[in-house]
């Protein structure tokens, strides 16, 4: 995914848009993502009024409702700082679909475009903007990577995550069959078409497990809940972890540098 | 209002935005692609059409009739359909090859025989395309459409000098749009299907075998 990266020196401040899933269902991953950024000497600003990117309504065809939610996010990032999002599909929503959502209102459209240009998926930001260079501090392990479809196709996240993991000497990344195939989550699809969604999730869980990895990693909350929920229902102990948490743990946590602390 | 008028009226009522012709983009695109050198075209064509399951015999122009005779004998072809009014048809007629059958009357008069009594047909081509291993057939009153379709074996004469790099070259340099026959035709291998469990099988409805005589300059 070609895009213009912010010119000039490395940013000192970023906004963090946690997404509703990370806020409520995997907050530790959000915390780890914030700490990864802080360890790089960055001040992380968490706008307290953030809620959700509006994707569930948007993809279900409820554009007005999606617009109402999206509009509530547009004013949360007044400074010209990057906005880092720890979930690929939500980042894709803000980056690619916000401008379309406000296409008919020039003022809001301009705001949405300005925001879209600043939105980064976490791994993209770490790799392409911060140019992180890490040393692995964990025991040898094997993992496999599942990238959400929108992250893959709208944000190129699979490539970024792969490059980050390649920096970790002790981590072997195994490739599952049908790697680029969807896990079957699809937001409301998972409840509207449970049979198909369940079959896809089950196939994905099989493919990930069959790699022989110790765990799978994903940078998308929806996929993680879908696949982990499937594995748990099967009483399988194989699990997925958010990429941010894995990266944080493998690179020594706060061991290296001290974070500056997030600012509200 | 007729259906025609209603359909056209609906289309005309839709928002219209004139777009530029893609002609320039098409020209630029094909000009940007790597091209096979002229002296390699015959080789590329032969390799490609062989990969499509055709049998290729490279033969000097003056000796193709003899080659045809050998093939007829080797394949046990008892009846060979040919186009008597064409140049190659005349050469065949003079060859004395046994079992020659001229396509010289409308199909209605001999349909049954065409379907059940012909082993092979021999036709000319209007050239070929190297990139895909494709022959260009230009059936007409003298060499009708069914010759390359109904008999189980199709023998085609391809002149090595008439091979062009791509389909785009063929359509533009041969000026197809200026005058098309009732059925201009590209043929790339024998008839085939993969409709049963993706398994490739030849001779679905058309020829089971395609034999190409690739005619080159005179032998030294």
């Amino acid at each position: 995914m070609q895009r213009n990266l912010p010119a000039g020196p490395r940013p000192k401040d970023v906004y963090f848009f946690a997404t509703c899933l990370v806020d409520l269902f995997c907050p530790e991953a959000g915390m780890d993502a914030i700490q990864l950024l802080e360890r790089e000497g960055i001040t992380v600003h968490f706008p307290e009024n953030q809620t959700c990117c509006g994707q569930p309504a948007y993809t279900s065809g409820y554009a007005d409702e999606a617009r109402a939610v999206a509009k509530a996010q547009l004013d949360l990032f007044p400074e010209n700082w990057p906005v880092v999002v720890p979930s690929g599909s939500c980042a894709g929503m803000m980056r690619h679909h916000y401008p379309k959502l406000f296409a008919e209102d020039p003022m809001l459209k301009a705001k949405a475009e300005n925001l879209a240009e600043r939105v980064f998926e976490l791994s993209e930001f770490l790799l392409k903007v911060l140019n992180v260079k890490w040393k692995d501090s964990g025991k040898p392990t094997k993992v496999t990577l599942h990238t959400s479809c929108s992250a893959r196709r709208e944000m190129g996240t699979h490539l970024h995550a792969r490059e980050l993991l390649a920096q970790l000497d002790g981590v072997e990344v195994l490739q599952q069959s049908h790697e680029s195939e969807c896990c079957g989550f699809g937001g409301t699809f998972s409840v509207r078409q449970p049979a198909i969604s369940g079959a896809m999730a089950s196939d994905k869980a099989d493919a990930l497990k069959e790699t022989g990895a110790d765990a799978f990693l994903s940078a998308d909350g929806g996929c993680l809940m879908n696949i982990n929920g499937t594995l748990e229902k099967r009483r399988d102990s194989f699990r997925g972890q958010h990429l941010a948490s894995f990266l944080w743990e493998r690179t020594g946590g706060s061991g290296g540098k001290n974070g500056k602390g997030e600012k509200a | 209002m007729s259906a025609r008028d209603k359909i056209l009226a609906k289309l005309r009522a839709a928002p219209a935005q004139p777009l530029a012709s893609p002609d320039a983009s098409i020209t630029t695109h094909y000009a940007s692609l790597p091209r096979t050198a002229k002296d390699k075209l015959a080789q590329e064509f032969a390799e490609k059409i062989t990969a499509w399951h055709a049998e290729v015999h490279t033969v000097p122009r003056s000796q193709w009739v003899d080659k045809a005779r050998t093939i007829v004998a080797d394949k046990g072809i008892a009846t060979l359909l040919y186009a008597p009014a064409t140049a190659h048809g005349k050469e065949l007629a003079a060859s004395g090859i046994a079992g020659l059958k001229a396509y010289d009357q409308p199909i209605e008069a001999w349909k049954q025989e065409m379907f059940d009594g012909i082993d092979a047909a021999i036709t000319g081509t209007r050239g070929a395309i190297a990139e895909t291993g494709t022959m260009i057939l230009w059936p007409d009153a003298d060499e009708p459409r069914l010759m390359s379709l109904v008999p189980p074996i199709h023998i085609a004469l391809v002149d090595a000098d008439a091979i062009l790099p791509t389909l785009y070259d063929a359509i533009t340099t041969q000026g197809w749009s200026k005058g098309l026959p009732t059925n201009a035709l590209l043929v790339t291998g024998p008839s085939k299907t993969a409709d049963i469990q993706q398994t490739l099988a030849y001779g679905a409805h058309g020829p089971k075998e395609l034999i190409v005589l690739l005619l080159t300059g005179e032998a030294q």
Binding site: D64, C182, F189, P194, A195, K233 | K10
Partner: protein, 484 residues
């Protein structure tokens, strides 16, 4: 021999059919194998992603240009076809198309029609109409022949019998074709079809075909095929009737070349098909074969509805390669029949609502995870996921002011979903309210229901964390203050 006409598919029916296939491990494996095969074949044809991107951009440009001039091109096509001796007919809907074809058949006292592959003829249920009129309409594409013999519909637009194994076909032929004994040998099975159909080609009064591209400037119809049955249908019988959708026209023969190259590579991973026919009129004076009469039936059937809207118009860029279904994880799980439409998979989800109305098809745009695989492989760059979202909106809302309603507009609207999304918008556009909600959801997580509709059918229930990220951040701030 007949096939059942297409039934409207209520949402519950789609769900039930899909669940049935999903529960059949044999079918699942067979679809997966077939799709893997086609995906790999296509990928091998496009080793250079940059070149592919350039080809797709060019193909998109050609299709968009053609559509931008559609009414003019159709008139030009008609004028040149007429000049070439072809009779041109227009049909707004399936009934009109069938009546036109039936009329031609009656003029010739036709009893047998052989058919080359034509999805538009499936779309208008031509076989059913012919059967009702006592005319045998026989499919001659091997895959189509097989599904017709089985009394079924094609489950894929390129590979109609992809849902059948060779054992199924062996059994079918042994049962239905007189004098044929059971064999799983594919060559032998194809020979059976060849023998049966050759007789039919000879005897048929009418040959029917589809059209892959219609060329306005030359008045030509292009036909793409491997088997030669298309050539048989368009050459042997005395009358050739071609049927196609109005969107298939392009301006020039040169415009066909890039499209044809992408069509075969995207569809079956072939650089080219065995046959490419450019048919420009019936038998001419002095010619010894070819039909003496030729017709073209141009079918609307909802296409003008898609055309009326600039976004939905992109649907008509389609060249029917089927790559979207080959790459669709949903199609791979359920096959083509579950959709209950002529065109299954992603292209079917965006085109069927125009053909059959949203009342019958509103569930289909929702039958996708929006994973984007379809849009990624589409050779003419139809933004299928965007169109799915758009149709989801049209299916659940009244038409916007100033927009003509689609047929069946709003038919998928439910009070439950409307309220749920209103609630979603209400909650998530009010930060204070959301924070209160998040506070409650984490504190009272023990109240989370254990049965969460479709979600918990195959997964454990979703349960909020004990502390939200906001909580964790607030705690950290307190800790930092303490340590100062």
């Amino acid at each position: 021999m007949t096939t059942q006409p297409m039934q409207f598919v209520p949402g519950s029916e789609f769900k039930r059919r899909a669940a049935e296939v999903v529960a059949n491990p044999f079918l699942r494996k067979s679809f997966r194998g077939a799709m893997d095969f086609l995906i790999a074949k296509r990928a091998a044809q496009f080793p250079d992603p940059e070149l592919l991107e350039r080809q797709r951009t060019l193909a998109e440009e050609i299709r968009r240009y053609s559509l931008s001039r559609l009414p003019a091109l159709l008139e030009q096509l008609e004028a040149n076809l007429v000049k070439n001796g072809v009779k041109v007919h227009w049909a707004e809907n399936p009934d009109e198309a069938n009546a036109i074809i039936l009329g031609i058949c009656r003029q010739h006292d036709a009893r047998l029609m052989v058919k080359g592959k034509s999805m538009v003829s499936e779309e208008v249920e031509l076989n059913h109409a012919m059967d009702a009129a006592g005319i045998e309409a026989l499919e001659s594409d091997m895959g189509e022949y097989i599904v017709q013999l089985a009394g079924e519909k094609p489950s894929h637009i390129i590979m109609p019998a992809i849902h059948k194994t060779k054992q199924d076909i062996a059994k079918l032929f042994a049962e239905k074709v007189p004098g044929v004994s059971y064999t799983e040998d594919v060559d032998a099975l194809i020979q059976v079809g060849r023998d049966v159909l050759r007789k039919k080609f000879m005897d048929a009064d009418i040959g029917l075909s589809g059209v892959n591209f219609a060329v306005a400037e030359t008045g030509s119809l292009c036909l793409v095929e491997n088997e030669g049955n298309g050539r048989m249908c368009t050459t042997v019988p005395n009358v050739h009737i071609a049927i196609t959708g109005i969107e298939k026209v392009v301006e020039k023969l040169e415009h066909v070349v890039p499209l044809y190259g992408l069509l075969t590579r995207s569809a079956t991973g072939q650089a080219i098909t065995t046959y490419f026919n450019v048919i420009t009129g019936p038998r001419r004076e002095g010619e010894k074969d070819g039909p003496r009469e030729m017709h073209l039936v141009l079918v609307d059937n909802g296409r003008t509805q898609a055309y009326a809207d600039e976004q939905l118009r992109q649907t008509l860029q389609c060249i029917r390669c089927g790559a979207c279904m080959n790459h669709c994880p949903v199609y791979t799980r359920i096959g083509g029949h579950a959709y209950g439409t002529t065109y299954p998979g992603p292209i079917g989800e965006i085109i069927s609502p125009h053909m059959m109305g949203l009342a019958a098809t509103h569930v289909l745009p929702g039958a996708s995870t929006l994973c984007g695989a379809c849009g990624e492989v589409c050779p003419v760059k139809i933004p299928i996921p965007d169109l799915l979202i758009r149709l989801r909106e049209e299916a659940t809302h009244e038409a916007k002011p100033g927009h003509a309603p689609l047929v069946g507009q709003g038919a998928g609207k439910t009070t439950f979903a409307s309220l749920a999304f209103k609630g979603f918008a209400f909650l998530y556009s009010r930060p204070a309210l959301y924070r209160l909600f998040a506070w409650g959801a984490t504190r009272f997580r023990f109240l989370t229901p254990s049965n969460q509709a479709g979600w918990t059918a195959t997964r454990t229930p979703l349960k909020p964390a004990a502390k939200s990220l906001r909580d964790l951040l607030a705690e950290r701030r307190i800790d930092e203050r303490k340590s100062c």
